[in-house]
Structures are given as C-alpha cells and as structure tokens.
C-alpha cells in the first residue's frame, strides 16, 4: 500500500480539567429534559405549598411548636421523598441512560482519563438535583419557622443528603440496567423501612446522617437521628467520594453498548 504523506491535524493531550468540563457540559445537556424538569418542579412546588399551609395554620395539639413541625416535615417530606427520588431520577440517568442509548461511547472511546469523566457525570447530576430539592425544602422550612436555626438546618441537611444520594445513584446507574427501579426499592426498603427500625440501621442510611444534621442543629429530638452534626456531614461526603471513585473504576470494566 502506498503511503501518501498527509499532514495530520494538530492536537494536544486532553487534561484532567478539560475532560471534566467537556463531560460535565455534555451530561448536563443530556439529563435536563423538559418533562423531567416540569414533573419534578411540580413536586418541589407542592412541598413549598405544604410548608406554607403548615406555616399559616396555628399550633395543633400534636405539634405545638413551629420548630418541631418544621423538623418533622423536612424529614418526612424532604429527606424521605423529595431528595432521594429527585436524586435518583437524574443521577441514575446520567451514565445509565448514556449506556442504554449508546451515547456513552462518544466519551468512553476517547483518550480521556476515567476519573474526571466520573466526576463530570457526578457534578452535572448535582447541578440539576441541588436546586430542584434544596430550594423547596429550605423554602418550606422557612415558611413554617423562619428562625435561622431551622433554615440553616434544613439547608445543611438537604445539601448533605443531595451530595450522598447523588453519588450513590450515579454509581448505581453504571452497575445495573434497571437502576431506577432498584433505586426505588433501595429507598423504600432500606432508607424508609429499615432505617426506621433502629439506630444501627439508621447509621447505614443517608437519611440517618442528614436527619441527624437537622436534629443536632435545631436541638429537636427525633428517634434514631442522634448523631453529631460533624458525623452527619462527613459520612455522606465520604460516601460521595467513594461512590465517584467506584464509578470511575466501574467505567474501566463496563461493556459499552
């Protein structure tokens, strides 16, 4: 075969930062769809509405203090339903959908390191999930009791939960094909049922740590959420870091469709 000498186009190695920026932007563009935003935005609106309704009503016999009502609602609605479900929909979809529809190959078969790619996926999910969850939870808490304690606590707790859940579910999306369904089962069976059963189980759930941040900050006592604030913040952070690291390892072994 005759080798015709053709000038090749100029290129340079893709650095870690460039990899992160590219993948972050691509994934962000892919996971944000109008129907998802609308459906989960409505959910957030509902949370604010409930916060407002609870805020304007007077004390009830069961919950005389606005602070305890606020803590209770943040745990039962925010940390139990809104944060995990919204995080699941977007985080499990980042790499999971890309694998399913075959677009992962456009990032995978490239001279890129895996770990900034995993990090890009993580932060793109976080960028969507955080406003969709933290804003409604904090606003509804503020509407119930605008003491700085509850607002700060709700902000910290929901942020901690978002950080942890997003990491777990991004990883889940690379591990299982029907990751959203498995994630739902995990949320209901483990996070809701099991962690309600006892202290040990609560310490193995993200909700247990996020809830502890809330109770420690506000001083309201809720069963099984009895850890210190620092543990409540550190553990979900560590979970996220480990999850991203595992995601990056998993990307090296995955079968790309």
């Amino acid at each position: 075969m005759t080798g015709v000498v053709v000038p090749r186009r100029e290129r340079h190695p893709v650095g870690v930062v460039a990899t992160f920026v590219i993948t972050y932007r691509v994934f962000l563009r892919q996971i944000v769809t109008r129907s998802r935003l609308v459906a989960l935005g409505v959910l957030g609106g509902l949370v604010i509405l409930v916060g407002w309704a609870v805020g304007v009503s007077g004390p009830t016999t069961k919950h005389p203090e606005p602070l305890t009502r606020g803590v209770d609602l943040t745990i039962n609605l925010g940390l139990t339903v809104v944060v995990p479900v919204v995080a699941l929909v977007f985080a499990a979809g980042v790499l999971g959908d890309a694998r399913e529809d075959g677009t992962l190959v456009y990032l995978w078969l490239r001279p890129l390191r895996r770990w900034p790619l995993a990090l890009g996926a993580y932060f793109s999910a976080l960028t969507v999930i955080a406003p969709l969850t933290i804003i409604p939870v904090v606003v509804s808490a503020a509407l119930i009791d605008n003491s700085s304690d509850l607002v700060v606590a709700a902000l910290l707790a929901s942020a901690v939960a978002v950080v942890g859940y997003t990491g777990l579910f991004v990883l889940l999306g690379t591990l299982l094909r029907r990751s959203i369904v498995w994630g739902l089962a995990y949320i209901i069976i483990w996070e809701d049922i099991a962690s309600g059963l006892g202290r040990v189980a609560a310490r193995l759930s993200i909700r247990g740590y996020a809830g502890s941040v809330l109770t420690d900050q506000t001083g309201v006592v809720v069963d099984s959420f009895d850890l210190s604030r620092s543990w409540g913040i550190i553990v979900p952070l560590v979970v996220a870091v480990v999850a991203v690291a595992l995601t990056s390892l998993r990307l090296d072994r995955v079968d790309v469709a």
């Binding site: 459906a39 959910l43 509902l46 409930v50 309704a53 609870v54 304007v56 009503s57 007077g58 009830t60 069961k62 919950h63 009502r69 209770d72 609602l73 039962n76 609605l77 139990t80 339903v81 479900v85 699941l88 929909v89 499990a92 029907r178 990751s179 959203i180 369904v181 498995w182 739902l184 089962a185 209901i188 069976i189 809701d192 049922i193």
Partner: protein, 289 residues
C-alpha cells in the same frame, strides 16, 4: 418390534377444536402478565425484586406467628402486635413498592416491545386488553394484600389464638378476603393510571410511587401539622384504601371523622378516575398498524 416400518408425519396439522374466544384471551393475557411480572419464565434477574418485596410483606406475619407460638400471652388482643385490620397498613410501604414494580412492568413493557400491537391482532380489543391487565395487577397485588392476613388467620387458628366459634371465624375470613380484593382493585387501577402516562418503565415506577406516597405524606402533613380538615384525607391515595380496610373490619382507622360511605365513595371515585385516565391514554394510542 413390529417388522413393519412406519413414518410419522411431523408436518403441519390443522386444529378444528373449540377456541376459547375473548374470555380465554383475557385469562391468558392476565396469567401471562402475572407470570412475567414475577419473573417466571424469564432470566433470574427479573425475579429478585418481586420475590424480595413479597418476602418482606410476609416477614412480619411470620414473626408474629412465631411470637404467638413462643409466648403464651395474647399479644394481638393487647394491641402489641398489629391486628388483621392493621396488617395491610403495617406493610403499607411494601405494598407501595410492589405497586411501583408491578403496574409499570405489566403495562409499559407491552408498548415498548411490540406486544401491544400483536395483542390487538388477536381476538382482544383495547378494552378487553386493559381488563386483562387490571386483573393481572389485582391478582398480583393480592399476593401481598390477601396472602399475609390469610396466613395469620390460619396460623393463629392452629396455634389456638384464632377467633372463637365457626361463625366468627367465617366472618373474619370474609373480611380478610373482601378487604384484600377491594384494596388490590383500587391500588391496581390507580397504579396503572399513573403508569399509563409515560413510555419509560423506570419513570412509570417513580410516578406510581410518587402518586401513592406523595399524596399520603402531603395530606398527612396538611391534616396533622396544618390542622386542615381531615376530610381532605379523601385525597390521600394511600390512606383511603387502608381506611376502607379498617371499616370493613368495622372499626375506624386514621380518619375517624369520615363516614363509611365517604371512605367507600372516595375509593370508588379514585378507581373510576384511574379507569378514565387509563382509557383516555389507550383510546387513541397509536399502534403499528
């Protein structure tokens, strides 16, 4: 051996026997859907989640039976262990999860893998197809709504702490069966309605769970914490069927101020609304052809 050779024709044979018609078609689709949702005849990975959910639903019943056998005290009577009426509510979250697994699997899959179009080329029509699907979800849900209380009844009866007298026993049996059937029917239609709205199984699951769990948490918060009239509980899609179960056992549950008629009416209204949503979605659903 006979010394005459014989060749058996393995070719095409005609079938002139009876055909079972639409009823048979509905039965076959319902049965097939049930099997498929439980992962029977499919690879093992499809079995894990449904089996896990069913096990968790039965686990408390088994524990309670165990306690009843080991301890001589009547814990049920003393309210330590949930009564028959309370049991379904006790495993409420598992039922929610089960709805989220079953309804999307039964309904959404057919639209994505071409089965829906093929079914319509058989004696089935859209309406009879949907009836089959509702029956399938109902029957599957009964595994967790009807099975555990029945297990309790049988175990308690053998253990000696069952209801006294044949009459009472029969009344209790009727209540268990009636509440199992009713609650399954309402959850089936409501979950299928939520699942009919999207073409992706995963989002259908999220939708079913958000509708059931979300309405429950929101209404709970509004009634308990905001002091809104408890009549708003009719909007609690999880609470209403469980309340109806309590009423079938002749006792008020979490919504004592509501009349039996209102509770029954709310359930009927939700089931009807769900049916309307499903029909609206499927009435004009495009198929090839």
């Amino acid at each position: 051996m006979s010394d005459e050779a014989m060749i058996v024709d393995r070719g095409y044979r005609t079938y002139d026997g009876p055909r079972s018609g639409v009823v048979g078609a509905v039965r076959s689709v319902a049965w097939h859907s049930m099997r498929s949702v439980l992962g029977i005849g499919r690879p093992a990975r499809h079995k894990i989640l449904p089996v896990m959910a069913v096990l968790i639903a039965y686990l408390p019943a088994l524990v309670f039976v165990g306690i009843a056998v080991l301890l001589p005290v009547d814990l049920v009577g003393k309210g330590v262990i949930p009564s028959y009426a309370d049991y379904t509510g006790f495993i409420g979250l598992v039922i929610v999860l089960f709805c989220g697994l079953v309804a999307p699997e039964v309904l959404v899959g057919d639209r994505r893998n071409g089965m829906f179009g093929l079914y319509l080329s058989t004696p089935l029509r859209r309406d009879t197809y949907l009836v089959a699907k509702i029956l399938a979800v109902m029957a599957t849900l009964m595994m967790v709504t009807l099975g555990p209380p029945l297990l309790l009844l049988i175990a308690y009866t053998f253990e000696g702490s069952g209801p006294g007298g044949v009459g009472n026993w029969l009344v209790l049996l009727v209540r268990i069966v009636a509440s199992g059937v009713v609650i399954s029917a309402v959850f089936a239609v409501v979950s299928l309605a939520a699942a009919s709205l999207t073409d992706r199984r995963a989002f259908a699951s999220v939708g079913v769970i958000l509708v059931l769990l979300g309405s429950n948490v929101v209404m709970g918060a509004l009634i308990v914490k905001a002091g809104v009239s408890s009549t708003l509980g009719v909007l609690d899609l999880l609470g209403m069927p469980f309340e109806l179960v309590q009423r079938i056992y002749g006792q008020p549950g979490g919504f004592p101020k509501m009349s039996v008629l209102l509770v029954a009416g709310a359930n009927a209204a939700w089931a009807t609304l769900g049916g309307v949503v499903i029909w609206y979605r499927y009435r004009r659903l495009a198929i090839n052809p």
